[in-house]
Symmetry: D2
Subunit: 155 residues, 4 copies
Amino acid sequence: MINANLVIKNPNFIDDVKTSFQQQGILKLLGAKLEKIEPGLVEISLPFKPELTQHTGFFHAGVTATIADTAGGYAAFTLFPAQAIVLSVEFKINLLNPAQGQLLYAIGRVIKSGKTLSVCEVSVSVTDRTKTLVCAHMLQTVMCLPPKTMDKTVK
Amino acid sequence: MINANLVIKNPNFIDDVKTSFQQQGILKLLGAKLEKIEPGLVEISLPFKPELTQHTGFFHAGVTATIADTAGGYAAFTLFPAQAIVLSVEFKINLLNPAQGQLLYAIGRVIKSGKTLSVCEVSVSVTDRTKTLVCAHMLQTVMCLPPKTMDKTVK
Amino acid sequence: MINANLVIKNPNFIDDVKTSFQQQGILKLLGAKLEKIEPGLVEISLPFKPELTQHTGFFHAGVTATIADTAGGYAAFTLFPAQAIVLSVEFKINLLNPAQGQLLYAIGRVIKSGKTLSVCEVSVSVTDRTKTLVCAHMLQTVMCLPPKTMDKTVK
Amino acid sequence: MINANLVIKNPNFIDDVKTSFQQQGILKLLGAKLEKIEPGLVEISLPFKPELTQHTGFFHAGVTATIADTAGGYAAFTLFPAQAIVLSVEFKINLLNPAQGQLLYAIGRVIKSGKTLSVCEVSVSVTDRTKTLVCAHMLQTVMCLPPKTMDKTVK
């Protein structure tokens, strides 16, 4: 099902993902952590805290979407040329099960790595004391902006 | 284009939206505010702070999605029977323009209010000193859970 | 909510939509007709026939999606430069009500017209003898390919 | 990543998929064939003909969506109780590569099988003389209607 073109164009992709991750204010606010960086795959985890909940006490769908969008975006970014920028074009997420547990983690994988657009899928699971459950699934389109073209006319 | 069935079943819908909103830890963490509650329409605003940004300094797409999902969910909730619970089934969001500015606000509107499922669209804009720009558009499906059925077997 | 940039770059856009429409084998097979072509807006109609149905006798969701995708794509195309080609990147469609009736029609509108990507929304309605009902809503991303770049490396 | 609950409730699911498939006028018009029916998985193929094309001569995105929606819907249906009806709630499809070739086939898999809602993903590939290429990926929500509730108030 996965049919990505896993050509690595930026040999420093691991360090570049780490650097970019630290520039994201929201990921610090939420408490997200980078768990895995491979060509075409990035995993992000997020421990539970009451500040991340919706009205029934589970992780908010927007929080789930935030780490899923980030995992997918960086998965695509691992296959970009050096100094390119990744921007989300759009994503769709299905909330499959209540995101109830101690740890949320999102695994983003590249389905298609194109020159301009890449498509990723992201699976989000939640771990409780005794079990792990898939709680969300995302299908996402991201854009590769070459260096110095970061303006709104590109998109 | 909007063809919603705007029948109000819960006369206390305004207070119930406010109460539910305050139970969401993530909305407090982000700093979101309820701006408008009408039958089939809810508006939420979010002032900029550096803790809400992605790697280029704008509002993170996940933050945009969080307030959009919340605005759409509560828009549907205004038409639910009393004591029902709203859960997001899925949503898709397009990021149309960079979310760069001082204030983000999301307006959710009900397109279809069904017994079990409702469909909403949400427009998100960003305001800078001199202009307002639509930065995202969401199409969302939410579920109405009648009282005392809040368990995973329903969905 | 609509915030499109309705600059016309191709003065022959009406004729070009008509010519392109006639090149689509599937639209002839289904029986679709162009009803309206305006800057940033295209309407397509499709009369009912039993060959267009799903298992309960209504228009199949895929048929609804086909005319919606086409209406949105051409709506974006009206704002493209001359000789550019439109390709669908992705779309999401909600089936709001049973598509039961004598005539299906889709109205596509541009939300954002960008250099490379455009975003459209499409409302699909179905008309029976006595009433018209919105039966589907689509949110779509399309790509503008400049002339002579129609190859898979672009996307 | 797949975490479906593959409990079979209808022992005649294979025959029921075949019967329902033959009731769909559009599938006959397009020329689609059932290739595989397993618990939680259905595969559908569609040979090329000029009547299925868009303006550049490839399979139209709406045609791709039609067989993908059908494959996903029936994949969910294999896990429904006897005599239940499947309806598509919504789907999102990414067109990854040009659908150019002699045979299109869609494989739908259940990600989540719920009492009311099921979520499926569908991978669509196209085969030419020398190679097979993934050309589309769908994420879909379908609804299970118990017998005798097939009216618009349910949804």
